[in-house]
Structures are given as C-alpha cells and as structure tokens.
C-alpha cells in the first residue's frame, strides 16, 4: 500500500494547514455514574486511517457513536469538517449522512433487498433519482463483490457478505468519514478477511476512516495511527509499527501482551 503511506505522510507534513476532518475537544460522557469518556481530544485528518484499540468496556464504541451522535455528549465539542454537531432535527440528519457507520451486527434493513438497502439513503436523504441511485448502488456492490446478490434479502447472505453490503450502503451516501465499530468481530473466521480486504482497499482509495478493531493485521496494513484507549481515556497513540513494537504505557504493554500471546 505505498500510495496510502505516501499520501498520508504528505498529509502529515502539511497537517498544520488543513483543518482536521474530525476534531473532538474535551469530550466527556457519562452513563449514569459511569464516566465512559474522559476528556477525549482526538483529531483525524482528511484521508487518515485511525485504528482504535483497547480493553473491553474502555469506551471505544461510545467514542465511535458520539461522532455521529448516536450517543449525546455531556461536554466538549465535536467538529466534522469544521462544523459542530447540531443537536437535533434536519441539520443533524444531514450531518449524519456525511458520516458513514458500519456496525458490528451489520444492521441491514431486514425487510429490504440488498439493492434497496443501498439505494434507500441516496433516494430519501440525498434526493437522487431511483435510476441514478440504482446505477451507483450496483457499482458499489460490484466493488465490494456482492453485485450478484442484489435482489436477495439480507438474511439470505453470509455474515461477510452482509457486512460488505453494509459498507456499500454507507459508501452510497458519499460520506466524508467512515466509522467502523468492530466490523469483523461477529463474523466466522473464514469471512473476516473478505471484509478486511474491502476495508484495506477503501483505505487505499483515500477514505478517512476510524476503525475500532482488534485485527492487528489490518492496523499494520492500513492504519496511519493507532489510538489506545483504557478506562475512557486515550492513553497513547502512535504509528502501528511504533505502537505494536514499542508500546510506552504499562496499560498498553499489558493489553498487547494479552492479545498477542494467546
């Protein structure tokens, strides 16, 4: 993936000039008494691929979900492409359309065909004609390798195929950034790679991505940066090479020891 690396490093050198695509500043979030996100500061540049890892319950999913406001935040600010997340209503809906989300459990619309899953957003939210939406949907389904399943219902597809449709559904909105919350952890082992490959090629095409995953292989192949979270905090962040070979904090060393040695 030389093109990703070069474009990302070019971005890094020019990073100070361009406004980051996602900017979280001083974000806090509680669930009742539980302090799930503590003073989160995170910036993601255009075209950057950030992998978020950390122990279970450290707040990775919550972090992801606050970015398109599936969860509200208690304080702090979140800017997408320089604009603050609106509280409710039409403006929020529009902004959500710019942030693609891929869920662990796929969440394809169960009563709609694969094709309808992908065309629904462009038609209803972006106001595209159904012919236009269909053409683009078939193109995207082909890109993720499930165009021959377009007429089927989601339940008729394998998990890996469903997740690739979910990726196509998110891409159909032409999002500025894509969020992935453990996209492969509900999959049988033999299907994990087909989804990861799709994500790697997406990264290579320059998509800005925030990916919660424990797939070290993906992080090494596609990530520009690894963010390590524990207890609702960002403990450290670095390039995948640095992070995996020389973790600095004890929490990260401990965590990597556990997941690499089993």
């Amino acid at each position: 993936m030389p093109n990703v690396a070069s474009s990302a490093s070019a971005d890094t050198s020019a990073g100070t000039t361009g406004e980051p695509l996602v900017r979280m500043t001083g974000v806090n979030k509680h669930f009742g008494d539980l302090h799930v996100l503590r003073e989160i500061n995170l910036e993601v540049r255009r075209g950057e691929v950030v992998v978020v890892i950390g122990p279970s319950g450290s707040g990775k999913s919550t972090l992801c979900r606050t970015i398109n406001r599936l969860e509200t935040i208690d304080d702090g600010t979140i800017l997408i492409d320089g604009k603050e997340l609106p509280a409710e209503g039409k403006a929020l809906a529009r902004l959500r359309a710019d942030v693609g989300m891929v869920f662990q459990s796929f969440n394809l619309f169960a009563h709609k065909s694969v094709l309808q899953n992908v065309t629904l957003g462009p038609i209803r939210v972006r106001g595209k004609s159904s012919a236009q939406a269909k053409e683009r949907a078939m193109e995207l389904l082909k890109r993720v390798g499930v165009d021959n399943q377009a007429a089927k219902l989601p339940a008729q597809l394998s998990g890996g195929q469903q997740q690739r449709v979910a990726i196509a559904r998110a891409l159909a909105m032409d999002p500025k950034v894509m969020l992935f919350d453990e996209p492969t952890s509900a999959l049988d082992p033999e299907m994990i790679n087909e989804v990861l490959d799709t994500m790697v090629s997406l990264a290579k095409q320059g998509m800005t991505m925030i990916v919660v995953t424990h797939e070290m292989g993906f992080a090494r192949r596609a990530a520009d940066r690894v963010v390590f979270m524990a207890d609702g905090q960002i403990v450290e962040q670095d390039t995948p090479e640095e992070f995996f070979s020389h973790p600095k904090s004890d929490r990260a060393k401990d965590f990597l020891g556990k997941i690499l040695n089993h």
Partner: protein
C-alpha cells in the same frame, strides 16, 4: 322436533338476520380502518423522541383502554349528538351508524396502538440506529424502516384486536344501531318459543365471521414474518 325446525326456519322469514349481521360486518370494516389509522398515529406518538407526544399517547391509551366501550358510545350519542346536536348524517340511521363507527374506532385504537408498540419492540434497535446513521429523521425512519417491520411483528395481536372489535360491534346497539344484538333482543321478545335457536343463530353467525379472521392472521403472520 321437526316442528321446532319449522319454527326456527320461520325466524329467518320474520327477521332479517343476514341484514343485521351485514351491519356488524360494516361496523367492523369501517371501525377497523379508523382504529388502524388512529392507532398508528398513537403508536408513533408513543415512540417519538418528543416527551410531550409520548405523554399524550400514553394518556390516551390508559384512559380509553380502561373506559367501558358502552360508556364511550353512550357519551357520543347522548353527549355529542343529543347535547351538542352534531349530526353526522341527515339520515337518522346513518347518523347513529357513523357515531358507532367513531366510538368503536376511538376505543380499539388504544389496543391497536399497544399491538403496534409490541411490534416495534420486536424490531432490533440496530435497525433504528442504521436508519439514523444514513441520515433519516424520526418520521422517515419510522415510516420506511421501523413500522413496516413492526406491523409484521404485530399481526397476531392486531388479529386479536380485530376479533375483539368484531364481537364488540354488538355494543353498537347502545348507540341505537340495529345490528344483530339489537335484533336478537326483539327475537327473544317476540319468539320466546325458539329462544335456544335464537342464541345459537347469533353465536354460530359470529363464529363464522371470526374464525376466518383468526385463520387469516395466523397465515399472514407466518407469510410476512421478517427473516433475520
């Protein structure tokens, strides 16, 4: 014995039993449509993100569900028609028929609402989150994603509500509609000689109407089940 059958048969010559049942079927039909529309709106209110809407929906359901249907119909006829003099039709019978439809719809809408809400609970939260994530607002997600699945999950409780509605159309007699239970009253009064046959006629009539509804809902709930 054979003379009893002859007497029984004469019942059908003396009273228009089929016409009376036809009124019940019409009441069921129109009240079903009305309660379905109102019940859907109520269910939308009960799952809406706006708190005042939720309270309004919950208030309606709790008050109406716990009020006897007879009271609602008598209130409409004595309160709204007689007191406020609001005529729904210049035709006397048609006026009462319409009041009965409205009363039945108001009452059963509360049950339709709860049936749909139980259907909404069969739809995984991930469906709503995915809908929001592609930028659909509350109403479009409800209309395109949640309710189509919720209705399929609600077919059985909706069928039960329809069956209850069918039988409850007999309460329309309280709104002066001459349907089968009103006719039954006159039959009992004028033909006490065949009283058992009168009861059987009405009972069997309802079974013939209701059984297909039950079979249909069982079939439909299988046919339209959402595969996950």
């Amino acid at each position: 014995m054979s003379s009893y059958f002859a007497d029984f048969a004469s019942l059908f010559e003396q009273f228009d039993v089929f016409q009376a049942f036809w009124v019940n079927i019409q009441l069921t039909f129109f009240a079903a449509i009305g309660s379905m529309l109102l019940g859907t709106v109520l269910a939308l209110m009960r799952v809406s993100p706006i708190a005042s809407m939720r309270w309004l929906g919950a208030g309606y359901v709790n008050i109406i569900r716990n009020t006897p249907l007879t009271i609602i119909l008598v209130f409409l006829v004595l309160g709204v028609w007689s007191q406020l003099q609001i005529n729904l039709s210049s035709d006397f019978n048609q006026n009462f028929f319409r009041y009965a439809v409205i009363g039945l719809a108001i009452y059963h809408a509360a049950f339709v609402c709860e049936a749909i809400r139980s259907g909404v609970n069969t739809v995984p939260v991930g469906q709503a989150e995915a809908a929001r994530a592609i930028g659909l607002g509350f109403l479009p997600s409800a209309r395109l994603i949640i309710f189509p699945q919720a209705l399929r999950g609600a077919i059985t409780p909706l069928g039960n509500t329809l069956i209850a509605l069918t039988k409850n159309t007999t309460v329309a007699a309280a709104a002066s509609v001459t349907e089968i239970s009103a006719l039954m009253k006159s039959m009992i009064e004028f033909r006490p000689d065949v009283i058992i046959a009168v009861f059987l006629t009405v009972a069997i009539g309802f079974v013939l109407i209701v059984v297909p509804v039950g079979l249909l809902t069982t079939w439909a709930s299988r046919k339209f089940a959402v595969v996950r």
